[in-house]
């Protein structure tokens, strides 16, 4: 299963970014292989509008099963994400990714 996090860094000690569309990295953790994949997202900083849908599009193309983030996607991005079957969990902002992963496994994160 592929779990994505909106992240400020590239490893499991990184902190979860509250923002969806304008997070710096998307960290994807595969809980079977325990491999980490990084998607750079800093190109969205240059977009005045549409950063959310653009980030959602990247997630869609990466075949994510679960997204763990902070504030959650905004209206446009949410509309776009309806196309995917991804489960979205919010409220994990400012936590280290590895802690949020534990919370997810214990079923303690809020589902959107």
């Amino acid at each position: 299963m592929k779990i994505a996090f909106t992240s400020n860094g590239k490893d499991l000690d990184s902190i979860i970014d509250a923002r969806f569309g304008r997070c710096e990295y998307i960290l994807i953790y595969d809980d079977l292989s325990e491999e980490i994949e990084i998607i750079e997202n800093n190109d969205s900083a240059a977009d005045a509008h549409g950063a959310g849908p653009k980030t959602a599009h990247k997630l869609y193309n990466s075949n994510i099963d679960v997204l763990i983030t902070g504030n959650g996607p905004g209206g446009n991005a949410a509309k776009v994400l309806e196309r995917s079957k991804m489960e979205i969990y919010i409220g994990a902002a400012n936590k280290p990714i590895k802690d949020a992963l534990d919370l997810y496994k214990e079923n303690k994160l809020e589902k959107l």
Partner: protein, 287 residues
Amino acid sequence: MKISIASGKGGTGKTTLSTNLASYLSQNLEVVLTDLDVEEPNSGLFFSGEIVHKEDKFKMIPEWIEDKCDACGICQNACKFNAVLQFGNFISVLPELCHSCYACSELCPTDALPMITKKMGELTHKKMGNLSLIESRLTIGEEQAVPLIKQTNIYVKKYLSSAKIHIFDSPPGTSCPVIEATKHVNFVILITEPTPFGLHDLKLAVDTMREMKKDFGVVINRFGIGNDEVINYCINNGIEIIAKFPNDRRVAELYSKGELLYLQIPEFAHELEKVKNYIYDLIEEFE
């Protein structure tokens, strides 16, 4: 003579100056006040007047026709605004992000994205004596102010170009909507307050005007609060200070009731007269 009232920082008095100045000038001349702060137009709150015209404003957006689509992805690559995105065999169009550039529609090899109209706002034209008020209001949820500002300016040019003086109430900031609300005018009045925040955003606004090669002057509002740094900045940079409206509790009281200030606060009227004389000089120079 076309004059925009702009600011950089929000809440410094653009609408206060625009409405009072337009009303004051209309005592002697035909004046058109156009509220181009389409995301939050509020000049209309200060005038009753009769509505002479009202119209819906539209923009063009692509509409996806699934049956015609080959899912080739050309449209998504053509869109620079993330308004058209491909998800497998599905094309998602986000109308609020669309800049009506037609690229996706024109480049689609199977004509699966024809352009259709979408309402983006409403324009209202009011008249009271010598004063015409044009106000455009963006529909809630729309993200693009520029197309509506552009269409509002076209309306004003088409129907009201005979007026001697045009005042344009600009949106705050220094981004595209402000450029659109100031690029067609002869002169820009930048209104600020004498505080560190006011100065910071004034500098951005001044840089913007210089980049656009616009003539501009500064009006200081809430004069008496803060410090002297706005004045020093203007002096050191050769920027004319046209007037200084005093900080006065009565301003907030009258404004909150939707009333004009110069009729009831003599100190305000005194400074407004300076702005009027400055504009009269500009007209003379211009002609």
